[in-house]
Structure formats: C-alpha cells, structure tokens
Symmetry: C2
Subunit: 254 residues, 2 copies
C-alpha cells in the first residue's frame, strides 16, 4: 500500500523539526514540493535545506510541481476555496499515482503545524475519498507559527483558565473583536485587520518570519504600536517577496 | 547573568522533542523537576528519560523538588490559582537563587507546549518581576497536546477559514458550547464536561496519553460515543495513576 506522510516542519527555524519528523523524513522515497512562484522561492528553498540537513537516506527523490493558484480577493470565498482545494487534490492525486511506487512512501512538508490553518490534510483526505488511487496517510505535528510567536514574546496563548479564540484576518475585519474572550489569535491576515478595530484596551503581540533570522516582532498597546506594523510588514514583504505573520490581541483588564 | 530556559518537551512522545529543544537542553547546568506525588511519578520519569536520551553534556545536575499543590475543587477558582502561582513562584525563586550559578543556566521541562494552558511562563515572569534574583529567560515552543490529538485523528484544529475556540472543561460546563463557532478544543477537563452538553449535532475527537504507547483515542458523534469515554478515562486513570486527555468538539453542518 502506498503511504503519504504529511510532516510539520515548524514555523521558520529549521531547528523546529522534531525527532519524529526527522525519522519520518527518512522513510520517504519521494517528496512533493509545490512551487508557488518566484516570489515564494524562499519557501521551496527552505524545504530543500531541511531535506539536505536531515535526510540521511541516500536515494530519495524530490518532485517539484507548480501549486494550484487561487484568487486572493474572491467574490465568493467559500466556493473559490473549495474549487482551489479540488485543483490541489487533482495535483496530489496525480503525484501520488505517478510518482509513488505501490509500496512507496510520499512526503509532504507542511509549514508550521499541518493541523492549524493548513489545507493539506483536508486535500489529501479528499484524494483518499475519491478512491482513484489507494493509499494510507499519517500526520506528524509541528511547531505552529502561533506557538513560535508567543514564545518569542515570552507570553502564553491563553491567560490563566481563560478561553482563546483563533480566527482569520477576514473574519476579524468582518466581525470585530469577538465578545466573551480576551485573547484572540489572528492567522492569514494579509490586510492588517487589526487596524480596523476601534477597541482602545487591546495589546498586540505581532511577529513576522518568527524563528528565522529575518524575525521581526512588535508588542504593545494596539493604539500605540498598531500603526507601525503595516509599513513594517509592507517593507519586509517588498524586500523578501513574501511575508508570513501572525498576531495575538489581548484585552487589558483593569 | 543567570539564564532560565523553559523548554517544551511535547505531548508524550519523546520524539516530539525539537532539535532546538535538544540544543537548548544541552546548554543547561541544572534542571528543575517538580514532583507532583507518587501517582504522577511517571511524569518525572518521562522527563528523566528525555534527559538521558538527549543530553550529551556530561556534567548537568537534576534538582527534584516537591511541587506546590493546590485545591482542585476550590470555592474561589481565581484566588486559589493566584495563591498557587505565588507558591510556585516562591519555589522557583528559591531554586534559581540557590541552585543556578551566577552565570549558570537553569532548565524547566514543560509538558506539551509551554505557551498553551501551562503556567510556567507566568510564574517565571512573576519571579523576574519580584526582582529578588536577577535572571533572563527564554521560551522554547513544543508540540502541544492539541496538535498531537488532531494529528492522531488525521484532522485539523480548524475547518477551512473558520474560527476555533479553545477553552477549559470548567468553562464548557458552565457556559455550554460557545455560540458562533463550530470547533471547540477543550483542555484541563477532569470532569468530562462534554457529558453535560445537550447538543445533538456534535462530533467529538478525544484522546488520552496521545503520542505515547498508552494512547487511547475515540472519535464519532458525541451522542453515540460520548458515554464510552468517562469509564475508559476512569479505568485508564486508575491503572496508571494519572491521565492527560484533550478533545475537539466539532459541530456538524448539513
């Protein structure tokens, strides 16, 4: 039976790799690296560096393919994402069928933690359910960008005994700061949705490229430091061609 | 300057250790292992096993101390926890002052990810702010029990583009399933609060000792499998003397 391993590689520091991930990397016959275009070449390079560094098995192969692209400002978000997933599933189905031997192992390197705001598991499950190619798969957890962010800020995701809400930039912009929680983690926010909030009692803990040599962090009252972040982010993005950032918003209680 | 490293060791599999964590373990002169009593001796043993396995530095020391205990069913939760933190801060202050040399490095091994429902960071920050002993500290993220849980179930913490709520068993029992989210992760639930929910459209993904040889997982509609979990949990707890479990509740949408 073919086997696919979805392996979390952590949030930007090659030393985020776990021993489990390294052991599983060394079982893989063929790695799939999806290329998102020139600007994000760094992200492919980072994955190649991880393979060079940790894989001792001499005979593994790397198959690079052009990732399915998607409309980043769609009219219908849900339909656009569903259609994008379908095209990613087509791509992975083809790769698994054509590139993994009948008893072979295929590997996918997932940035951060594959269980948090990453669609690889859902896409691979979709391929499995289609039934056109038989395989089993396993998920190897990784250090999430959220853990790396708050560790860099030496704080916790939650406050003692309190709940946490994790949401997207799109939803934060649409719905505002959620009621009934004091701590909100925001992922996938390319529009700096925190600038739309009118709350004056929030602290922000922001970071880009956390865990990498390019790490940038900003923390403080949102009303004081919030406006500094969009130009910092834009400048970094311009310089590197891509940016990955995350933040925690925490309501101050008197 | 003294330095304290709060190192995430992952959620039960010694192979959850990251390369970063292993490198930092090897900088430590003295490790603090807090003992929570005989029943939880396994948890101290697991930490000793990690040191034996990964630390190559020959001359490190281990100082074992009796952890501050607390009332598990307090009348006033917030005050009880604050007082417990203070006693843990007293303990760590004494250990840092007495056991770490002026240029030494002290290490604390935090189960799972120290940034998620673990009070070590808050306690160490409290010690720092008291100012009785000068030190700096750093936090090394780990694989959280939540990531390990959902990876074992081959699902994600979130659904596509949707928010996630992380809360405690205590709050779930008091407030019910939160409105406006479909995915709720529950931590620190020793009373199986999911059994108090009347919702009939929830799936549960539950796991105990995830990532360890004792791993137990249950998944399915809460109305069908929910009742199986408390006896399974009680039996496991009886057998091993302790149990660590977590779960995800997911609302089914038609």
């Amino acid at each position: 039976m073919r086997k696919i391993l979805i392996i979390g590689i952590g949030a930007g520091d090659p030393e985020h790799l776990t021993i489990q991930a390294i052991n599983r990397l060394n079982e893989v016959d063929v790695f799939f690296l999806l290329d998102k275009g020139d600007a994000k070449k760094d992200l492919v390079d980072a994955r190649r560096e991880i393979l060079d560094r940790y894989v001792e098995k001499p005979d593994y192969r790397v198959v690079q393919a052009v990732d399915a692209d998607r409309d980043r400002t769609p009219e219908n978000y849900v339909a656009t994402v569903a259609e994008w997933h379908q095209r990613r599933a087509d791509l992975y189905e083809r790769l698994i069928r054509d590139e993994v031997g009948e008893d072979g192992v295929g590997g996918i390197l997932a940035w951060g933690d594959p269980t948090l705001y990453d669609n690889t598991i859902a896409v691979i499950e979709q391929v499995r359910q289609r039934g056109n190619v038989a395989f089993e798969y396993a998920v190897i957890p990784g250090i999430s960008s959220v853990s790396a962010l708050v560790a860099a800020h030496r704080t916790s995701i939650n406050q003692i005994g309190k709940p946490v809400h994790i949401t997207t930039g799109r939803r934060l912009a649409a719905d505002g700061f959620p009621p009934d929680v004091d701590d909100v983690v925001v992922m996938l926010d390319s529009h700096c949705a925190f600038t739309t909030l009118e709350d004056t009692d929030l602290d922000i803990y922001w970071g880009a490229y956390v865990g990498s040599p390019d790490e940038i962090t900003v923390a403080g009252p949102l009303t004081e430091v919030g406006a500094k972040i969009p130009p910092l982010r834009a400048e970094a993005r311009e310089r590197k061609g891509w940016v990955m950032d995350t933040y925690l918003l925490r309501r101050r209680r008197s």
